[in-house]
């Protein structure tokens, strides 16, 4: 039962992240980085929901891959988990940047510097979501349920 509570909390936190990432009023992305023209474009071109979803998918997908696809005693140490976290923290902003850049290029908009600075925060969000996802789903892993911190 306790594990399901962790799972539900993880889902709620992730959903909250998504909601605040798409919000017009209190936008979590804009709280951390704001450059009016760039952020207005991100909002108008509907980029926020997609990059938030991509960040969630990469983070939760990374955690699921570690706990259920890799799921091996050979990789059950904390540093294996940390390596996956590092991969997620690199992969998510790269994917988001590529998407962001594609949308902007399609509309002929140029915000390269702003886009790079903006995606730096995706590193943090992806890492945080990976931790949340890990503590939500690790309990049902046959070999890695004790990683990164033993139960």
């Amino acid at each position: 039962m306790k594990h399901f509570i962790y799972l539900i909390i993880g889902i709620v936190l992730t959903a909250l992240f998504f909601v605040f990432a798409c919000s017009d009023g209190f936008n979590i992305y804009e709280q951390m980085y704001f450059s009016q023209g760039f952020n207005d474009k991100m909002f108008n071109l509907n980029v926020y929901p997609v990059i938030a979803a991509l960040t969630i998918l990469v983070s939760w997908g990374g955690a699921a891959t570690y706990y259920y696809a890799i799921n091996s005693v050979k990789f059950d140490r904390w540093y294996h988990w940390l390596a996956v976290l590092g991969a997620v923290a690199v992969l998510a902003p790269v994917i988001c940047y590529i998407y962001n850049d594609t949308v902007f290029s399609t509309h002929g908009v140029m915000y390269v510097g702003e886009s790079i600075q903006f995606e730096m925060q995706t590193v943090l969000f992806a890492a945080a979501l990976f931790v949340i996802a890990s503590f939500s789903m690790r309990w049902w892993s046959s070999n890695c349920r004790h990683t990164p911190i033993p139960q």
């Binding site: 889902i11 798409c22 009016q36 207005d40 509907n46 979803a53 998918l57 799921n71």
Partner: protein, 481 residues
């Protein structure tokens, strides 16, 4: 992998669901895309309507009982989506949907002093202006032509014959009494006869020449002219009048108000007085089918009467060459600049705002003269204004400049933690009216070629009758530290 729990699959479904929540329906997305790309054309509107008609079941709230697109609901939906964008965007689609075709009634003045405007040796600017006007109304069944002087007389030939007529005053010779023009009767008849969706245009030199002026002082004639214009137009509420001044070749006798006729060859101003319901004039300004009516390149000066304080669309530019200091635009009700900071070196705050003054139908000389504006604020902000040039538009600022006509730049010392900058454009008779008016026309000297006797009194009377408010528009910008 075999042990992948079923709840993880549920998670995937939730994740996909979350992603879907962030998107909109196909129509919402298409509307957003049109607004963001600035492709606010009739073709774009038609493509949005086709999304609705392709799937009437899904968009049942946007379809009328007989299966047609409900244009009023479409307009509301587009405004709702536009209001959520940054900056909020407005697209008036009303002219595209279900609006009846406009009809045109020409009132062609045939007084003695009009005949020399259409001589065979002249440039024919007057006739061309009327022909161009008619050509903006392709359905000739919707065009009616009248000859006016002491009364209003129907033109006896077809519209095509009028267009081809190389000597219009010759072919209409003998109609009415060309020795005087009764504006009171003409304007009254025009306004009385006007039906919904009709655009009436008086083609005239706007020289008031009533009967029996022998021995009457010019001041008395001017006062009479002014009063009659006020009296006539004050009776018809909801009407809007656009006066366009053009220049044409004049060759022949000129009849001064109190003197002997004399021969004159050269330029003279003539006028198109466009009279319609206010919403029809709005449609003329917005509907691309009729836009040429008000945007004719041969217009020297123009002015729209009957303007109350209008809503003017404004967008603060986040990045602009003149910007000084820092600010953040808060989107929502009104224009609010938050987190403002003065420039580190000068302490000044400077920002630029794109505005759409096209709907006011005022000439650029009036709109770009900062003296015509009143600016009130605690920190003493000053205003400069310039027309938006296509070369200013880049992909990054397109959303802010698209559809806008002018750029207002406000500069002030950033001292007060909270300030409100009120900008208004005073509703006054434009300068060109005074400059184009004269009180004597007995000789060809001076500004004879560019002025009209008593123009200020006539248009001043119309202005008094239709003056809606003291300001043509008001804008307030809140500035917060």
């Amino acid at each position: 992998m075999r042990r992948l729990p079923s709840w993880l699959l549920c998670l995937c479904v939730i994740a996909v669901g979350l992603t879907a929540c962030g998107g909109h329906g196909k129509l919402d997305k298409a509307v957003r895309s049109v607004l963001v790309s600035g492709d606010t054309t009739r073709a774009a509107y038609d493509s949005l309507c086709s999304i609705v008609t392709d799937n009437p079941g899904k968009y049942s709230d946007l379809v009328t009982g007989d299966g047609q697109v409900d244009h009023k609901r479409m307009y509301e939906l587009i405004q709702e989506i536009g209001s959520k964008l940054r900056p909020p965007m407005h697209w008036d689609t009303r002219p595209y949907g279900g609006v009846q075709e406009l009809s045109l009634t020409i009132y062609f003045e045939r007084s003695g002093s009009m005949v020399p405007y259409d001589q065979r040796g002249g440039g024919g600017q007057l006739k061309k202006a009327v022909n161009d006007l008619i050509n903006h109304f392709p359905a000739t069944s919707k065009v009616e032509i009248n000859i006016v002087n002491d009364g209003i007389y129907p033109y006896q030939h077809t519209v095509d014959e009028f267009l081809k007529d190389r000597d219009i005053y010759q072919s209409t010779a003998g109609i009415g009494d060309a020795s005087y023009t009764d504006f009171q009767l003409i304007f009254n008849k025009i306004l009385e006869a006007q039906k919904p969706g009709n655009v009436s245009v008086l083609v005239s030199d706007l020289i008031y020449s009533p009967r029996d002026t022998h021995g009457v002082s010019l001041d008395k004639i001017f006062n009479e002219e002014n009063s009659l214009a006020t009296r006539v137009f004050a009776r018809y509420k909801g009407k809007s009048v656009v006066v366009q001044q053009m220049m044409g070749d004049y060759s022949g006798n000129y009849y001064p108000y109190n003197g002997q006729p004399f021969n004159y060859t050269g330029k003279r101003p003539f006028y198109l007085v466009i009279i319609a319901d206010s919403d029809v004039i709005d449609q003329l300004a917005q509907d691309t089918r009729y836009r040429g009516v008000l945007d004719a390149p041969t217009v020297t000066n123009s002015y729209r009467f009957n303007q109350g304080a209008s809503e003017v669309e404004c967008r603060v530019l986040p990045e602009w060459e003149n910007n000084a200091g820092r600010f953040r635009v808060r989107h929502g009700d009104g224009i609010v600049l938050t987190k403002c900071q003065g420039d580190r070196e000068t302490g000044k705050l400077c920002f630029s705002m794109a505005v759409n003054l096209g709907g006011l139908l005022k000439d650029d000389a009036l709109l770009t003269n900062a003296d015509n504006y009143e600016v009130q604020s605690i920190d003493g902000y000053t205003l400069s204004i310039q027309p938006i040039d296509p070369s200013m538009v880049t992909a990054n600022n397109k959303e802010y400049l698209d559809g806008m006509t002018h750029l207002m730049t406000l500069l002030g010392d950033f001292k007060s933690p909270r300030d409100e900058v009120h900008i208004s454009l005073r509703n006054e008779l434009p300068q060109w009216v005074r400059q184009s008016s004269c009180s004597s026309d007995t000789s060809t000297g001076g500004s004879f070629s560019t002025t009209t006797l008593g123009l200020e009194q006539l248009l001043g009377g119309m202005f008094d009758a239709m003056r809606g408010s003291n300001n043509l528009f008001d804008v307030t910008i809140k500035i917060q530290r």
